[in-house]
């Protein structure tokens, strides 16, 4: 081998020179993966798997394989119970509105699956949920989103049956039962730790069994449990014998962190990983890889699924140029969104009209309910002409004061897709005489400072990802404009203020009628699309690469990842695959 390596090294320069004209040799991974083991590559870092403090996307992806939450969303965006036996609603009578005359709230009865157990065989009960709720509310624990716990005022456990309890909520909201992010913590393992370190900031996180003893089977309630955890490197999962649901087909899952997408792909082709999760290849890469899979009949399937992540441009309404609605509309008209997604994404990421995803039950494309801007440079030019922007010979527009129509376009530095889109947009707007300057901040600066303090001046591009049927309050309400008065909270970064919309979001929360909610949402959408505080661009698609013989796999397209159904994944053997393929034809 080393001789070969030496000879190869000597030929390096030569090879490098002619590489461009050499058609890369096809590299076939040895054999199809089997149910014995599946190796998944991800590019994003993960932290330890304590569900209550985890905040990284990759961690939630992995956690879905080893832990369960109270309820879940299936691939068709239907809410289903997961650890619970049933979702309590007002209709089925398990939940009721309660009032003491002053305030109104909801009480709901939850029953935990009778077979639900921790990985060490200990039964999983309401006590575990009550414990996690306690921990979540602790001031010394760095829970990312405390609202999950704060909305519950108390949990009353049935003294006779610890699997049965009543959640007492603080308010009467129609979506009280959306507990897909409420995870249990194993009280029998974690309570001693918590009690020992409750007084010390971050004491619980630092000493939790998830940190100190992450391979303890009792920490996990999902179809798999962790047998080996190398932070920043890999994680090895094995079937959990105590899992209460259907038994998983694949015996062992290895998740490897390969932070570099190029290396990830090389590893996939070299066969050292079998599959790339959604948190893997860049979209561009997936697209190129899909072409290659087709051309060379590689034993992979490249999956594309439009998701909830909505890429858009925020227009800073404090900018004097953008305060003029004609300018904003001109900017929308000038963008060929369909052209953009066709050109850059092979049409696999759908163009967006507004903030709701097509998978959202509230989604609409009805021109009567929203304002749709079809690409027209002429309309855009006309609007700018009207707004008093005149062409000059340098190819840009100027106003009466001689100011050039110059806007700063910001996004997160290092995000290649966004940078591509940015350049595309810059070019499109140049066509209507707008001088767009690109200025990118690293993500943490962009979100932590630039957006939060609304320092972006002109246009900002980023994405929102929200669960279905989510009240858009934090994006559209005038109370959500970040500022001194509200402690820089809220995500209404454009600074859009519309009194009617403010009313509508309040009504939306209080409405327990599905039909009425739909109307309210569509009215918000109408204002939103008509006044253009935000230019929708496209919905991000999630992509993954799976081995051709993997069945039972589907990207759900919402924030509960494909890993939620990991127990259904199955790797067909060669014979079955042939049969399956002929069936498909």
């Amino acid at each position: 081998m080393s001789t070969r390596a030496l000879i190869a090294l000597a030929l390096l320069a030569l090879i490098a020179g002619v590489l461009a004209y050499v058609r890369p040799q096809l590299m076939r991974p040895g054999e199809l993966p089997t149910n014995a083991e599946l190796k998944i590559g991800i590019t994003q870092e993960f932290e330890n798997l304590n569900p209550i403090v985890m905040s990284m996307v990759a961690t939630t992806y992995i956690y879905r394989m080893v832990g369960r939450s109270l309820i879940q969303l299936d691939e068709d965006s239907q809410w289903l119970p997961q650890l619970a036996t049933q979702i309590p609603t007002l209709e089925n009578g398990l939940a009721r509105r309660v009032s003491d005359g002053e305030r109104e709230w909801i009480e709901a009865e939850w029953t935990i699956h009778p077979q639900a157990r921790w990985g060490d065989g200990e039964p999983l009960t309401c006590r575990d949920f009550r414990f996690s709720w306690e921990v979540g509310l602790s001031p010394n624990v760095g829970v990312p989103n405390i609202e999950i716990y704060r909305q519950i005022r108390d949990i009353h456990i049935d003294p006779d049956d610890p699997k049965h309890c009543t959640f007492e909520y603080r308010e009467a909201l129609w979506n009280f039962n959306r507990h897909h992010l409420l995870y249990p913590l194993p009280e029998h393992l974690e309570r001693p730790v918590f009690e020992l370190h409750a007084e010390q900031p971050e004491g619980y996180e630092q000493n939790s069994n998830y940190t100190r003893d992450p391979t303890n089977p009792g920490l996990y309630s999902g179809p798999y449990r962790i047998v080996n955890l190398g932070l920043g490197s890999h994680i090895i999962l094995e079937r959990n014998p105590h899992f209460f649901g259907e038994e998983a087909h694949i015996e062992r899952i290895v998740i490897m962190l390969i932070p570099n997408t190029g290396t990830l792909e090389a590893n996939l082709r070299a066969g050292s990983i079998d599959m790339v999760s959604q948190l893997g290849m860049s979209f561009d890469q997936s697209l190129a890889f899909a072409n290659r899979v087709q051309a060379q009949e590689l034993p992979f399937r490249v999956n594309f699924q439009p998701g909830l992540t909505y890429e858009h441009l925020d227009l800073n309404l404090d900018n004097p140029f953008l305060a003029d609605i004609r300018t904003r509309r001109a900017l929308v008209y000038a963008i060929d969104r369909q052209g953009l997604v066709d050109a850059l994404f092979g049409g696999l990421q759908p163009a967006a009209f507004h903030n709701l995803a097509p998978t959202d039950p509230w989604y609409t494309e009805d021109p009567a309910r929203i304002v749709i801007y079809r690409h027209s440079r002429r309309k855009a030019n006309r609007l700018l002409d009207e707004a008093g922007w005149v062409w000059r010979d340098d190819g840009y527009r100027y106003n009466a004061d001689g100011e050039r129509l110059r806007l700063r376009l910001m996004t997160t530095a290092g995000n290649k897709v966004r940078e591509l889109v940015q350049i595309y947009l810059q070019d499109q707007w140049r066509g209507i005489g707008v001088d767009v300057r690109i200025h990118n901040d690293p993500a943490r600066v962009f979100f932590g400072q630039t957006m939060r303090r609304r320092e972006y001046g002109g246009i900002a591009m980023y994405a929102w990802s929200s669960s279905p049927e989510n009240n858009p309050r934090s994006m559209v309400s005038s109370e959500s404009i970040p500022g001194e008065n509200n402690g820089w909270s809220g995500q209404n970064y454009p600074g859009w203020s519309n009194a009617r919309v403010d009313e509508l979001v309040d009504e939306l929360d209080r409405s327990f009628d599905e039909k009425e909610r739909l109307d309210l949402v569509h009215e918000i959408l109408w204002h939103y699309t008509s006044e253009v505080p935000v230019i929708p661009l496209y919905y991000r698609s999630e992509t993954s690469v799976t081995p051709i013989n993997l069945t039972g796999y589907r990207i759900p397209g919402h924030q509960i990842s494909a890993a939620n159904h990991v127990e259904r994944w199955r790797l067909m053997d060669a014979e079955e695959l042939t049969r399956y393929r002929s069936d498909a034809q």
Partner: protein, 322 residues
């Protein structure tokens, strides 16, 4: 000698202390903080949550207070807690440090083994074709962007001629014998080591050649010849023995370069080392990890400087550390 080492260690400690404050300051000058990571991951986080988390992590304090807290906890042996991985820094750093040492050590070894004979050869055959070729090779070594050579190596040896893995630290498997896992690790090391040692090879070849030329031009070489000694003895005991002195310094001092190189190499090859960790932790504002890794690397460099000086004294009897 002992007094000298003690004095140097003391000086080094002072420098490390000052540098640590400088680095801490630099880190905090970077906009954003660890909580911003959470904000990015979770768009529904509220401002109240952010402030709560900031206070929890002590991020609302002035820089020097935070530095003081950090420094005193470091002094008490607690290296802190990684906010990215949510584990103690030692847990995440330990194995990575080992990986980087393996990588850098192997690269250094390869570089020395390859470069020194080449440099000596070039010096002894000055202005010959071999000298030109070796020189060109050395210049290429110091001129090539390390990430690019890494990409090309991947392209050639992992894609076109797939004999080495494209990246990673080792295969994840249970059923390997120690020998198999050793070979496996070795396979994963080949490309990163090649790309990392390339630069060092260039540097060392140049220095070896220059040092050897200088040494061979000295009067004592003539003396050695006049004594009737054979060529091997003249080259090795007289020529190379003296060329070694500057080389030792260069090698020890190249540690800093090697560390910087490791960041790129580890990033491109997804090699789980400190370099990559430093890059990631800076990117994700994981101050504790970044600072500790940073301080380790600075201390390593300073320590290597000290070792270089001491070795210098060993190699050159004219130096005394009174």
């Amino acid at each position: 000698m002992t007094a000298y080492i003690l004095r140097r260690l003391l000086q080094t400690a002072v420098v490390i202390l000052l540098l640590s404050y400088f680095c801490y300051l630099l880190m905090t000058l970077m906009p954003g903080d660890p909580v911003d990571e959470m904000i990015m991951a979770n768009p529904e986080i509220t401002s109240a949550d952010i402030d709560r988390l900031r206070a929890l992590h002590g991020l609302d304090q002035p820089v020097w207070v935070r530095y003081w807290n950090w420094a005193s906890s470091i002094a008490s042996g607690d290296l802190g807690y990684s906010r990215t991985y949510r584990v103690p820094v030692t847990d995440i750093l330990g194995p990575r440090l080992l990986n980087t040492f393996v990588l850098a050590g192997a690269a250094l070894l390869v570089a020395v083994i390859v470069a020194i004979p080449l440099g000596v050869w070039a010096a002894l055959r000055k202005n010959s074709t071999a000298d030109y070729v070796i020189n060109l090779f050395a210049f290429a070594g110091i001129s090539v962007p390390s990430f690019w050579i890494a990409i090309v190596l991947i392209l050639v040896f992992a894609v076109y001629i797939p004999i080495f893995p494209a990246g990673g630290t080792g295969s994840i498997a249970f059923d390997m014998t120690p020998w198999e896992s050793f070979v496996d690790r070795l396979k994963y090391l080949v490309l990163p080591v090649l790309s990392l040692s390339f630069l060092s090879i260039g540097t060392y070849v140049r220095y070896t050649r220059a040092a050897m030329l200088e040494s061979m031009g000295n009067d004592y070489i003539r003396t050695a010849r006049a004594k009737g000694l054979g060529w091997p003895r003249i080259y090795l005991m007289h020529g190379f023995r003296n060329a070694l002195i500057p080389l030792i310094t260069v090698t020890a001092l190249s540690f800093s370069t090697l560390f910087s190189g490791a960041i790129i190499t580890e990033t491109v090859f997804a090699y789980q080392g400190v370099g990559q960790l430093v890059f990631e932790s800076i990117q994700s504002n994981d101050f504790n990890v970044a600072m500790v890794a940073f301080m380790i690397s600075v201390s390593m460099v300073l320590l290597m400087n000290l070792i270089a000086d001491l070795l210098y004294g060993v190699a050159d009897p004219r130096i005394s550390y009174a």
